[in-house]
């Protein structure tokens, strides 16, 4: 197990290094500099500005310095936003993004499990079809369409909730719902299939033969086993959540990482774009690693086979 973890971490560092390198050289190849055309600087002043960003050195020197700074958590200085360090900007914006993502995953998965469970219990009945339809709609319709729908109905037409912004709990309701529908649909679909499979398994028949009540069979024996494989879909779920959060943050003007990325793209702020990309890559890879390890911890069968290898 330890060897497996170490190998995975090794792979992770390699992947991050590749991403950092590719990002750096792509940014170098792109046109644009911190100089703005409207500033009307003299040649000498331009040199001073470039010098202050370290852009006069040869690219390999810049690359080594970039990697060195990266290891220490320094992502450079933004070309915009009054030359604030990128790390400072991103740390400030990490909070809302993580809040949004975390609530969406928790709420979405919770309701998804319930929906899937209901569908499996009433297999081929009315509730099964209803929850299947909800699941198909949830996985198919992009979160930004949902966001628009929610915003129009509850904020514009009914005026119950604010259209945008962030801070108070009432601001969080619509974005979290819009973002949680995806995970909910995925979880519901998955739990339904798993539960139907588990229902026919031998240990449930044994439990029934022993005279356990239906609720005991469903909650104690069925659901626990059906939930284990749910961990495997958490990975894809989180990818779609990161994609979703970028648009949701833009729509609801939430001061998060995704919104920062979209803004930085508009103004060609390369250090910030680079920093955001790396944060996304880092978050994604670490979460996948945690999920993989978690899967081994939750399901003893996997741990045993993993250990004997």
């Amino acid at each position: 197990m330890t060897q497996y973890i170490l190998r995975r971490i090794g792979y992770m560092i390699l992947t991050l290094f590749i991403i950092a390198t590719v990002t750096f050289f792509l940014m170098k190849l792109m046109p644009g500099s911190p100089l703005k055309a409207e500033d009307k600087l003299t040649e000498e002043q331009k040199q001073i500005v470039l010098e202050s960003y370290g852009l006069n050195d040869p690219v390999p020197v810049q690359y080594v310095r970039f990697l060195g700074n990266l290891v220490q958590g320094d992502l450079g200085i933004s070309y915009n936003f009054d030359n604030t360090p990128v790390t400072e900007i991103l740390v400030e914006r990490l909070g809302p993004s993580m809040q949004l993502g975390l609530y969406a995953v928790l709420i979405g998965t919770f309701f998804g499990i319930i929906l899937g469970l209901i569908a499996a219990i009433f297999h081929n009945g009315f509730w099964d079809y209803t929850s299947t339809i909800i699941a198909v709609l949830g996985t198919s319709i992009p979160s930004f369409v949902f966001a628009g729908l929610l915003q129009y109905i509850f904020a514009v037409e009914l005026g119950w909730l604010p259209v945008a912004l962030w801070g108070e709990p009432k601001h969080m309701v619509l974005p979290i719902i819009a973002l949680a529908i995806g995970p909910m649909a995925t979880a519901a679909r998955f739990v339904r299939t798993e539960m139907i499979e588990v229902k026919g398994s031998n240990y449930i028949i044994t439990a029934k033969a022993k005279g356990l009540s239906k609720s005991e069979r469903v909650w104690k024996h069925g659901l626990r086993n059906a939930l284990i494989p749910l961990v495997t879909v958490m990975g894809p779920m989180i990818i779609s959540l990161m994609t979703g959060s970028m648009v949701i943050e833009k729509i609801f003007a939430i001061p998060g990482i995704g919104e920062q990325f979209v803004t930085s793209v508009m103004v060609n702020d390369y250090p910030t774009i680079m920093g955001t990309t790396l944060i996304y890559a880092f978050g994604f890879i670490v979460i996948l690693l945690i999920i993989d390890l978690l899967y081994g911890l939750i399901d003893p069968r996997i741990r045993v086979t993993g250990g004997s290898k």
Partner: protein
């Protein structure tokens, strides 16, 4: 039943089963090939067939739709900007919303005040604004409410002008732009899915078939590529390449093919040691022919299903990129860029958002349901 009774069953109840010649050879149901079975299962799947019909309809409309009226997708006419939908015939059915009017509800201390607000809201064209009083109000702030209906086509003197889905902020016809945008989105999705298929099948097939060191090396490359989140790669590629259709396709394919390659490799590994492959090899069939004639047909079901799910993913990513401003560059339109513009005008001109968003959702749902249907169709367990 009691155990005793079972032991004391009368002998007369037992009769030997007569083996009859005519029943043992009887075929209980017509024998069908796998393809026929798959097609039957698919045709019996009503939601999947509805989805297929809808998709064919949408594809046809994306081809002929822009030619159904005389407006071009890039014809700007600023004086016709932000006109609501108006359809000949349907304009007399008020609740449909195709009558070419804008409406808004205004509040004020008195009806008079609310009415004045409504006039200000719609360019002070008093003679073309109908005011309906919703509540009289008692003099306190915002207690009176009126509904103003603005006949904007009449106000602009456009009696014989019909924009079926309205116009955008630059006076371009939304109907034309919607179908041209759908065309762009679908072309991107189909080409990306096709490239994923070709690269993935070739890579996975070679990797799985040759095995050993080749497989090991090729799998390491995939492992590194798949470890990098596709969102990050797609965003980086979009920043680096010029916005447009080709760039989106390249960005999608760079990461997209790995999934297909993995699936194909797994299937080939499973199949390549089976007897029919061994028989073909014994007969001297070349490797290329074994892959083409024996392996690919056997995994075609999985390939088709996987491609069907790639298409909606590509549609989604295209609209996502265009929505955050990295995809299709104006004046060209795609579903994503239309939705983006729609969001900016949602509060006052909701029709700009509703139609592209609804069409995108329908496309996504239809592809997903059709994909599910195909998966069932290629699953022998589902055949009846």
């Amino acid at each position: 039943m009691d155990n005793k009774n079972l032991n004391n069953l009368p002998k007369e109840l037992f009769k030997p089963l007569v083996n009859q010649e005519n029943t043992s050879e009887k075929i209980s149901r017509p024998s069908r090939t796998f393809g026929q079975n798959a097609r039957r299962t698919l045709f019996k799947n009503i939601p999947a067939m509805i989805s297929l019909t809808l998709l064919i309809l949408i594809i046809l409309m994306s081809i002929i739709g822009p030619f159904m009226n005389s407006y071009g997708s890039k014809d700007q006419k600023l004086e016709h900007a932000k006109l609501p939908p108006r359809v000949p015939g349907l304009e007399n059915v008020s609740w449909l919303g195709f009558n070419g009017t804008l409406s808004d509800e205004m509040t004020g201390a008195t009806v008079e005040q609310a009415t004045q607000k409504a006039y200000l809201r719609f360019n002070k064209d008093e003679e073309f604004i109908d005011i309906k009083v919703i509540s009289e109000g008692d003099g306190s702030p915002n207690s009176a409410e009126v509904k103003a209906i603005y006949h904007i086509y009449d106000a602009k003197g456009l009696d014989d002008t019909y924009y079926w889905l309205g116009t955008d902020q630059l006076g371009r016809d939304q109907w034309t732009r919607l179908w041209e945008g759908t065309r762009v989105s679908l072309i991107i999705a189909f080409v990306a899915a096709l490239l994923d298929l070709v690269i993935g099948v070739a890579y996975g097939g070679i990797s799985g078939f040759y095995g050993g060191r080749v497989d090991n090396f090729m799998q390491r490359i995939i492992e590194i590529l798949a470890g990098i989140p596709n969102l990050v790669i797609i965003l980086l590629m979009m920043l680096f390449l010029k916005p447009g259709m080709t760039s989106i396709i390249i960005a999608l394919v760079i990461t997209g093919w790995t999934g297909m390659a993995r699936i194909v490799r797994g299937e080939v590994l499973k199949l390549k040691n089976q007897e029919f492959v061994l028989a073909a090899r014994t007969l001297g069939t070349s490797n290329g022919k074994i892959i083409r004639k024996h392996l690919i047909p056997n995994i075609s079901g999985i390939i088709i299903v996987n491609t069907m799910f790639t298409i909606p993913t590509a549609v989604f990513f295209e609209s996502f990129l265009s929505f955050i401003g990295l995809g299709i560059a104006p004046p060209a339109a795609s579903l994503g860029s239309l939705i983006d513009i729609g969001f900016d005008n949602m509060q006052i001109y909701p029709y700009m958002l509703v139609f592209p968003a609804a069409l995108l959702s329908i496309i996504m749902i239809a592809f997903n349901i059709l994909g599910d249907g195909l998966r069932d169709a290629f699953d022998p367990k589902m055949h009846k």
